[in-house]
């Protein structure tokens, strides 16, 4: 079974969509990546080509120690692109039902799920602890907390916070879905 088979299908923007079941709202979150698998391969080739040509040129002159360094470097570049693409597969869904809020987080380690009672939950956007540090969007209930949207940019996180507050309400509130 493919390790990524559990991922929800990609969607262009994190936005609420009508749930599969009546009275449910599902928010899907995902990081943005500019490259597709095909353009990523073209990109790696475009960087590797001049490096390999240069290394081969020196190898042909007898200065072969350039070649392994070029190989290492292209290997590192390939790993870096793959790591960046793989991190782009991270997904989060926040399912808001009448009774609960279910947070599912997919990454390369698998799926993690957390379930919170909707009526006794609140959404908090914590201010950055230091001038250059991140805000944190957290769902809290009865001493438990779960951060969502870590991979989003601040504007996306703020708009998500607004939407989540509408859907989840404050502590001891249950807005109509």
């Amino acid at each position: 079974m493919n390790a990524r088979a559990d991922l929800p299908p990609p969607r262009p923007t994190p936005d609420a969509k009508p749930g599969a079941r009546p009275g449910e709202r599902v928010l899907e979150l995902m990081p943005h990546r500019s490259l597709t698998p095909k353009t990523a391969r073209i990109f790696i080739a475009s960087v590797a080509a001049p490096t390999v040509v240069v290394a081969l040129m020196f190898t042909a002159q007898g200065f072969w120690p350039v070649l392994p360094f070029a190989g290492l470097e292209i290997g590192l570049l390939t790993w870096a692109v793959r790591a960046s693409m793989r991190s782009g597969l991270e997904r989060e869904t926040i399912t808001v039902t009448q009774d609960s809020v279910i947070i599912r987080h997919w990454d390369r380690r698998g799926v993690q799920s957390s379930v919170f009672p909707r009526h006794w939950s609140r959404v908090t956007l914590h201010a950055p602890p230091a001038a250059l540090h991140p805000s944190r969007l957290v769902l809290e209930s009865r001493g438990r907390a779960c951060e969502v949207g870590r991979f989003l940019t601040e504007d996306e996180r703020r708009s998500l916070a607004v939407r989540l507050k509408q859907l989840v309400g404050n502590m001891n509130e249950t807005p109509a879905l």
């Binding site: 570049l77 951060e147 940019t153 601040e154 504007d155």
Partner: protein, 531 residues
């Protein structure tokens, strides 16, 4: 196989997010702003260490005769000054700027590989500790010039393997930095930001990263061959074993000339950001600027032998490298023309970033022109290894690369810290720097044309006057930089609050100016909208 589990623990995943406290915040930093800050502070430290070495050189050259240091130590200072300024000051400063600005300018939450980013920074203190450590081992530090030409470099004592390892570490750091930059730019741009909508600074860094990735293995291979020649009996560069020391020069400069552009292309990007802001006009010829940058990068691969015309090469080779070198003047001229055209009929104001950018424009052009003189083969036979060469590359690298870095610091510092700096002091710093940099380096043209060789601790009395003036300029320039450090640290500590736009201008218009000052980590106050 994917696995799923449901848990209901007291603390759910990701609720421990946030920076470590104290020193841990910096040791384990993964956010681009902290790492960018570390890079730039490190480069400032190296700038002062390398600068102190330059002052030792200029103090010794203040008068003819041996005054202060012995010739061996003098040679160590010239070599270490170059290595520290190139690999410790200028390159890390540009990587720091890339770390700070590229994610903001392309609308990414962070660099593509934050942990590798941390690693690539923290290699540097070890590399430079090792490099500086060579000064304290038997045989002393490297003294054969930063180019490490064999067989001279092979005569270094216990410091030799330390030098080679330090160069490897610097190279590894540069490569990781370049890969991070290139992957961030290519894979993490905000939706709608096509390549030709990217800010020019991002473009210049993209091309610089290509150059770095292409040439760094060549440097790594070259210094490894020096090492194996020294310790493992190979003879890549030893004539006695059938090797060729001149080939080291070819290999080194195949790396070295693109390296020059690695240090200047991001400077072009910075100036291309600043001039439109303070001219209150869009950049003239954005596309032409991008293509000119790419052309310069391409040409940098086919001009390396102009550094070594005097080793003897076929006439056809001399002609090729001379003409190819002169060809670089065309895209560079496009850039200078476009910056000038951007200012033409603009509503120009002269805040410190613009002052440094204008100074860059004039003084870098002087460096470019002396480069053209050096490109002419018969003239180069006279100028080679004289102070004319020293004057040329210092005009390119000091009022070129270093001034652009100062311009960038003055341009973005309010955005980074949230405070305005002391404008009067910054303008004083500009005037002192600009006057003294010319007092320092312009006389070196005359010295070189009169025949004074570079890398010597003593000289004929006919060179005394210009050397004295140059040394006065050196101390004036060096001491002026203490003012720069004071302005920067005072701005970090406090000052008048900066607005989000910072500059009172219809421009700047990049994504970074849509953020608060300072921008919160991973943050955009308003949605990044690419027009």
């Amino acid at each position: 196989m994917a696995h799923a589990h449901t848990h209901d623990a007291a603390h759910d995943h990701h609720d421990d997010h946030g920076p470590a406290k104290g020193i841990g915040r910096w040791l384990f930093a993964t956010n681009h702003k902290d790492i960018g800050t570390m890079y730039m502070l490190f480069s400032l430290l190296m700038f002062f260490i390398g600068g102190a070495m330059a002052l030792v050189i200029r103090a010794e050259l203040f008068q003819p005769g041996m005054q202060l240091v012995d010739p061996m130590f003098f040679n160590q200072m010239t070599t270490m000054h170059a290595l520290i300024m190139i690999f410790g000051a200028v390159m890390p400063a540009f990587v720091g700027l890339a770390n700070w600005m590229i994610p903001l300018q392309v609308g990414a939450p962070d660099m593509a590989l934050p942990r590798m980013n941390n690693f690539s920074f923290w290699i540097l203190p070890f590399a430079f500790t090792m490099l500086l450590g060579t000064l304290f081992v038997p045989g002393g530090g490297p003294a054969g010039g930063w180019t490490m030409y064999p067989p001279l470099s092979q005569q270094l004592g216990d410091g030799f393997p330390m030098l080679i390892f330090a160069v490897h570490l610097m190279g590894a750091s540069s490569i990781m930095g370049a890969i991070n930059v290139i992957v961030t730019i290519m894979n993490m741009r905000a939706p709608g930001m096509s390549l030709l909508k990217m800010p020019i600074f991002v473009w210049t860094w993209l091309i610089t990263a290509y150059l770095l990735i292409a040439v760094m293995p060549v440097l790594a291979g070259a210094v490894t061959m020096l090492l194996t020649d020294h310790y493992f009996g190979t003879t890549f560069f030893e004539a006695a074993g059938g090797g060729d020391p001149v080939m080291f020069q070819h290999i080194f400069w195949f790396f070295g000339h693109p390296e020059v552009y690695i240090m200047i292309l991001p400077a072009f990007g910075i100036v291309s950001e600043i001039i439109p802001t303070f001219s209150r006009k869009p950049l003239f010829g954005y596309d032409a600027m991008v293509y000119a940058t790419a052309s310069i990068a391409f040409l940098s691969f086919i001009v390396w032998a102009h550094h070594m015309f005097t080793v003897g090469m076929p006439l056809a080779g001399q002609m090729f490298f001379m003409l190819a070198t002169m060809l670089i003047a065309v895209p560079t001229g496009v850039k200078v023309f476009n910056w000038t055209a951007t200012m033409f009929k603009g509503s120009i104001s002269f805040e410190p970033p613009m002052l440094f950018a204008i100074s860059f424009l004039f003084l870098f052009t002087i460096g470019g022109f002396s480069g053209l003189m050096l490109a002419i083969v018969p003239a180069d036979f006279q100028y080679h290894d004289t102070y004319f060469v020293v004057a040329h590359f210092h005009y390119v690298l000091v009022p070129g690369a270093v001034f652009s870095l100062m311009a960038a610091a003055y341009y973005w510092l309010p955005k980074w810290t949230g405070h305005m700096y002391n404008m009067k002091l910054a303008k004083a710093h500009f005037w002192l720097s600009t006057i003294f940099v010319n007092v320092l380096f312009f006389p070196q043209h005359f010295l070189g044309l009169a025949g004074m060789p570079r890398r010597i601790p003593d000289y004929s009395t006919q060179f005394a006057d210009w050397n004295m003036i140059s040394s006065i300029g050196a101390f004036g320039f060096g001491l002026s930089q203490l003012l720069f450090a004071y302005i920067v640290f005072a701005c970090i500590r406090g000052g008048e609050k900066a607005t989000d736009k910072v500059w009172d201008s219809g421009r700047p218009h990049g994504l970074e100016w849509t953020l608060s000052s300072p921008p919160p980590y991973h943050s955009f106050e308003t949605a990044p909208e690419v027009k």
